[in-house]
Symmetry: C2
Subunit: 476 residues, 2 copies
């Protein structure tokens, strides 16, 4: 058995040990998902920029096609086409406010990945666990395709395809396919597929469950088969365009890019796309006939097709926007799938919050009125009624709200302000508010990522260590 196969077996065993109380066996889910032969087909790469502290360490790991930025340590792990974005790590000397605690950060924060298998997973921070400010750790964890681990330390977990853990510390949990969890800290839970759970303990609790029979045409995952459904087909249909950008060493900007914006060279840009000031387009984003207004962003694994974004729009990791017109300040959360059609376009009014993991799939034109929150599965006007609420009405909720499959308990105003604060932070961190005329205002990723260059790394091509990378250490 080659070393890479031994490593895979060992990681799976470690995860299974962590999940023993849940009686969950990871192996049948993942055993065929990354054949060893795939692990030396794609180069991994990391970004270098003068704006970010740099520290990378790779030991005894396979990294096929993965991307790294910032400070990250990977040991005894297999990362397949995974993005590790450490551009919001805390710095030595920062002070982290948590409730009444002011906690000093004692050294530069680092993403630490050990004994884990991450498949096409997006790892980003900024993490909110006050217990571990210096290490953002992913340990004994297996994640499947297009999972997002966002500021969420994980230990002993299995994350299903298109699942997201967001500002949540998780121990020994199974996160079901397409589930979104933002819940503070959770332990020993087996989260059903299609769960959207946003909780601030003692303040609010938002819980939605997809009807599984209606979710399965979009995404379905079971032991022994690869993930399948419309999400997978959609991504596969567009894979070839990415091959081209990965094959070239240098790529000229395919369209004009303002001085205050960044278009990553590993993004795909198709015809008639326009990029305005302060726009951030990240690697593995896909733009086709897309108009991005000032301060809009398009994050990793997102797709924006035949659509316009008016400005200050967030298109979070893995979100897809097709045949849609988005007003100003619209937020589209992780892995949402917004599918209009040429004859039935989707319009989202300004200031709307499309919750993470929302599916809107319409065959008649649909307009989401301004200032609304939308969640869950929406395929018609009636379902929109059932799966949305105005921000005003939500802010007035003080106790309990049930609507369709949603149960909300707690303080609606604090739920709204938590989201709005978060969106403001995202826009600011991405550089949407930068004053490009006077070159004032806070610089963000859109300005700081411009002068990035990329190094490529490859594994041993043959022999016992085939598919594993040599030990690589990068320091400033």
């Amino acid at each position: 058995m080659k070393e890479i196969e031994k490593l895979f077996v060992r990681i799976v065993q470690r995860v299974n040990i962590n999940l023993r109380e849940l009686e969950f066996n990871v192996l049948p889910y993942v055993k065929d998902l990354i054949p060893a032969a795939q692990m030396n087909k794609f180069y991994a790469f990391y970004g270098i920029t003068p704006h970010l502290p740099l520290s990378l360490q790779f030991r005894n790991s396979g990294l096929a096609g993965s991307y790294f930025l910032g400070r990250c340590r990977v040991t005894d792990s297999l990362l397949y086409k995974t993005d590790i974005r450490g551009d919001e790590l805390k710095k030595k000397g920062d002070v982290f406010q948590f409730q009444n605690f002011k906690i000093p950060v004692s050294r530069d924060e680092e993403i630490v990945i050990e004994d884990s298998v991450l498949i096409k997973t997006l790892v980003h921070n900024f993490s909110h666990d006050p217990e571990t400010l210096e290490d953002f750790s992913i340990k004994d964890t297996v994640s499947a395709h297009y999972a997002n681990i966002h500021g969420a330390p994980t230990e002993g977990c299995f994350l299903g395809p298109f699942s997201t853990v967001d500002q949540t510390t998780i121990h020994d949990c199974v996160i079901g396919t397409f589930s979104y969890i933002q819940a503070g800290e959770i332990n020993h839970l087996n989260i059903e597929p299609g769960t959207v759970w946003v909780r601030k303990p003692g303040v609010f609790n938002f819980l939605y469950r997809y009807p599984l029979d209606q979710l399965s045409p979009y995404i379905y995952f079971a032991p022994g088969i690869a993930p399948q459904g419309m999400f997978i087909d959609f991504v596969k249909d567009r894979q070839e365009a990415f091959q081209r950008v990965f094959e070239m060493v240098h790529i000229d900007q395919p369209i004009p890019v303002p001085a205050s914006a960044t278009l990553d060279r590993y993004a795909v840009v198709k015809s008639k796309t326009e990029i305005s000031e302060n726009v951030l387009v990240s690697q593995r984003a896909y733009l086709q006939n897309a108009t991005l207004g000032k301060g809009a962003n398009a994050q990793e694994n997102c797709y924006i097709i035949n659509s316009s974004l008016e400005g200050n729009n967030v298109t979070a990791h893995g979100a897809k926007i097709i045949e849609a017109d988005m007003g100003r300040n619209v937020f589209v959360g992780f892995n949402s799938f917004l599918l209009g059609r040429p004859e039935s376009r989707l319009k989202i009014g300004k200031d709307c919050i499309i919750m993470p993991h929302t599916i809107i799939d319409v065959r008649k034109p649909l307009m989401v009125p301004p200032g609304h929150i939308v969640w869950g599965l929406v395929t018609s006007r009636e379902e929109l009624e059932c799966n949305s609420i105005s921000i005003d009405a939500m802010s007035k909720t003080t106790n309990r709200l049930t609507k369709g499959n949603l149960l909300f308990e707690g303080d609606g105003a604090r739920f709204v302000s938590a989201f709005q604060d978060r969106i403001h932070h995202i826009l600011e961190a991405n550089g949407a508010f930068y004053n490009c005329k006077d070159k004032k205002g806070p610089k963000g990723h859109a300005q700081k990522h411009q002068n990035m260059v990329f190094n490529t790394i490859q594994p041993y091509p043959k022999g016992r260590l085939e598919g594993l990378y040599p030990t690589i250490m990068i320091q400033p």
Copy 2:
């Protein structure tokens, strides 16, 4: 002043201090040769293969366009499009025979480059200095375009363009333009341009000097100007073809390559080129309408154009063969320039030794008879008479021989056998004698370099550290 400029100034000062007795100032020669802006234009790269011990360390250095293989440590240095090939380094446990000494190698040998500027230089081993078996060191040294440092530890030296130091330990020396030195150990010498000096102290001494007025159309170098002449024009005319191979991440083999041969993906291959079994074509070699017979090799920076090599031919680093037919076992030494023309082809008979730094430039057909040694400048049949001798005749020389600008003293037979042993070693190391039918016989670079992959590295793109690389450490 940016850090890279400070580093350049500091290195030049260190070399000048070493060369103070010679009253030689390096600065005017090199100050405009690598403008800081060039230093972040080209990626550097290193090879990974299961067959070679791997250890690389880069600290506070610029590496633009340079290539690394094997074990190498670069500190406080500027390497511009330089090749560091550590595939013949000694290993821990080897025993090095030197005269009557059997010296154990106590740890894996490493190429150590400190406080040096190397421009388009080729560094290869294997080094023969019995004093420093574990470190092959290049320190306080500046080398200009297409210099070769071959198994030659250097300290406090300046190497002119197209010069070669070969199995020679040099301290505080200036090696003139296009000079070739293989002399054991030398100190505090200022070698005139166009010197070809092969010495084994107490055994033989071969000394040829080019007439400088006849050398200058080929290569000329003076303070304040870039190197110029036919050598430079020749290389520049073919630069564009290399840009293409560096722009692609993957390149399919442009022609069929036998299982026992290696064609490096960073070589240029133009129309009608044929590669036989056991052939090695290294990175930055250029082949155009070239036929390489079994066991022939084409080393770094060599050009083979409209020419055929019958088999077991060595085309050493930087050698150029144009419109020529080479018999079996012909050796063409470093930086030689063999220029036939379509109407006046050059034929070299089998078993010939074309000494390093030989120029043959003919406008009438010329045939070098088999079994001859050729040196110096040959533009006609008469000059060939004057600048060649049969191996038989040379072997009978027992004391002193003068021919044209050549002075030979010592034991001709030992001179011949030293060369022949060396050529045999080169062919063996390159895998020319591998038995590809039975998969027997010693494997060499032609067989071992096949499964090589390449990682690319880039410097800081902007800011104070622009052009310098982060600290990078690669271990197995």
